[in-house]
Symmetry: C2
Subunit: 301 residues, 2 copies
C-alpha cells in the first residue's frame, strides 16, 4: 500500500496548505479519500493519473473535505473519461453534485454512481478478491465516516525450483497454486507448504477524520498497520474539541494505543500552531510510533 497525502490541514485552503485529500494505492486500485478544494491541482502536482481513480470516498460534507469534488467530476468529463466513477459519501452528496452539473448543463459522459451513506454502524462499501473497504462511524458535527481498507490474504506462491526438485510435473502447477498438494514422479505426496512460499502479509489502512475522541472505533481498526487519525488541536486547546468535535494529538495517540495499530499518522492540523512537531511530541506521550502527515508526503504501508 502506498499512501499519498494531497492535503492534511483543517478549515480553509491557504497558499501552502491544502484541505483534506489522500490517494491510497493498493492491489491495482487508486482510491481517493476526501476531496477538499484544490484536490485536482494536488493530483496533478503529485503526478496521479486521473483515469486510474475509480472510487472516491468522502468522509463528511464539510467544505474542506469535499468542495473539490464538483470540479474533479467536471474535469474527468473534459478529459473524455469513459469509465464509471463510484462516489461513496453521506446522504445528500448526490443531490449536491447533480445540482451543480445540472446548473452548468454539464452532465458527465461517463457513468457516475453514488453510494449514499446514512448508517451509524460499520458497513461494507466495496469488495473484490483482493481488498475490502468498510466505513468507520465517526463522531463529528455532521454525519461522518472514516474508511478501513483491508487487503485480503493472497494465495501462497509456487516455488518452481522446489517443485522441480521433488520431481513434480508442471501440469500440476495450477492446482498447487490453488492449494493442492503435489505428487512426485514416483507417486509420493508432497504437502503444499513444502513447494509454496507464504504470501506477503496483507496490509490494512484506516482513515479517521474528522472526529472527536471515539473509543467505539477501536474494535473496528484493531491492529491495522497504519492509522491516520485527525489531531486538529493540542491538549492546551482540548476545550475546543468538545465544541467543534475534533481530537487532540494525545487523544489520537490514545486511540492508536488502544487499537494496537502499527503506525499512527497525524493530520488535519489547525493552522494556529507554529510547529507540527508539537503534535508528534504530544501523541508520543501515549503511543511511540507517530508520523506527521504533510502535503505531498508519501507513506509506504
Amino acid at each position: 500500500m502506498k499512501l499519498t497525502i494531497l492535503g492534511c490541514y483543517s478549515a480553509t485552503p491557504r497558499t501552502f496548505t491544502n484541505p483534506t485529500a489522500q490517494v491510497l494505492e493498493s492491489k491495482n486500485h487508486l482510491f481517493l479519500i476526501d476531496c477538499g478544494e484544490g484536490t485536482q491541482v494536488q493530483l496533478r502536482k503529485n503526478k496521479v493519473k486521473f483515469s486510474r481513480i475509480k472510487h472516491i470516498f468522502i468522509s463528511h460534507l464539510h467544505g474542506d473535505h469535499f468542495f473539490g469534488l464538483p470540479g474533479l467530476v467536471s474535469t474527468f468529463r473534459l478529459l473524455g473519461r469513459e469509465n464509471e466513477l463510484h462516489i461513496y459519501g453521506p446522504k445528500g452528496i448526490k443531490e449536491a453534485i447533480t445540482l451543480l452539473l445540472k446548473l452548468g448543463d454539464s452532465w458527465t459522459n461517463y457513468l457516475l454512481v453514488f453510494h449514499e451513506l446514512e448508517s451509524k454502524e460499520s458497513e461494507l462499501l466495496f469488495e473484490d478478491d483482493k481488498i475490502s473497504v468498510r466505513t468507520i462511524p465517526l463522531d463529528h458535527r455532521v454525519y461522518a465516516n472514516g474508511f478501513l481498507f483491508q487487503e485480503k490474504p493472497a494465495p501462497r506462491t509456487l516455488d518452481i525450483e522446489m517443485a522441480k526438485k521433488y520431481g513434480i510435473d508442471k501440469s500440476q502447477f495450477n492446482k498447487i497454486k490453488g492449494g493442492a498438494d503435489g505428487v512426485s514422479k514416483n507417486g509420493e505426496v508432497v504437502p503444499n507448504k513444502k513447494i509454496t512460499s507464504p504470501p506477503p502479509k496483507p496490509k490494512s489502512y484506516a482513515f479517521c477524520s474528522d472526529t472527536m475522541y471515539k473509543e467505539s472505533i477501536v474494535p473496528i481498526i484493531n491492529k491495522v498497520d497504519t492509522l491516520y487519525h485527525e489531531s486538529t488541536f493540542l491538549e492546551t486547546e482540548a476545550y475546543l474539541c468538545a465544541k467543534t468535535k475534533h481530537s487532540t494529538a494525545k487523544q489520537a495517540g490514545q486511540i492508536a494505543h488502544k487499537a494496537h495499530v502499527g503506525t499512527l499518522i497525524l493530520g488535519h492540523y489547525s493552522t494556529r500552531y507554529k510547529s507540527l512537531e508539537l503534535f508528534r511530541e504530544e501523541a508520543q506521550q501515549v503511543f511511540p510510533n507517530v508520523e506527521l502527515a504533510d502535503d505531498g508526503k508519501i507513506f509506504e504501508i
Copy 2:
C-alpha cells in the same frame, strides 16, 4: 481603477494556471468577478483583504467560473465575517450555495444576499453615488452575463489657493464644492469654474466572458476604457467557437474595434496553445491596443 487577474485560463485548474477570477478595485469597492476553484488561495497570494469584498459577480454557472464560491463563502464564515455579502449570478446560484451550506450544517453568521439574474436585457445591479454596475448579456452554452463597471463623474475640486486669491471666505467652500459660484469680499460673483478644477475622467471597465462573438454588446460597452473579452481560441480553431460558444482572439479584437474601447485585455485561453503572444498578434490584426491577461497580473485603468 485597478484590475487584478487571479485566474484567466479556461476549463480546468492546473498547477500553474487558474480558472477565471478577477478583482476590480474602484471608488473604495473591491468587486470580485467570477470565482473559479482555488480563488480564495489566489486572493491570499495576491494579498487581497477578504473583508473588503462585499459584492461578487458570477457570469455563469460553469465550474471554472464559480466552483470556488462555496469555499470562499465558508472561509468568510470561519474568518468571523460580520458584513453582509452580495452575490449576483444566474438563477440557481442561491439553491446551489444554500444546499452546500445546509449539507455541512455551516450556515453563515453574516447576511448572504443573493441577486439572481435571468433577464436577457442589460440591467442595473448595483449603484451608489460613485459607481454603477450593469449586466452585459452574453451568448454562451448556458445563461451568461458580462459586467460593466462605470464610475460616475466626481464633483469638481475646490482650488483653495485660487479661492483665497479672489478673496472668498471659507464659509462658502462647501457650497462651491457642491457647484455654487463664489462671492468675493467686495460682492463680486466668481464663477465656479474659476475656483475649481475638473475632476479626473471617470473610468469604465467591461468584463465579457464566456461568450461567442456577439455584436449586440457593442452599444453597451461603447467607449469603455478597458474591455476584457474572452479569446478561448485562435482563428485556426474557429470551428470550435460555434460548437462551444466561445470567441477567437480576432473576434475579440473586432468587438473592441467596433465599440471604440481604449484597451482590450484578452483571456480565458485554451491551454492547447504554446504562446499567449499568438492571441495578441491575432487580435492586433483588427485592433491595435491589446494586452494579455495572466494570473497575478495587475492592470491600472
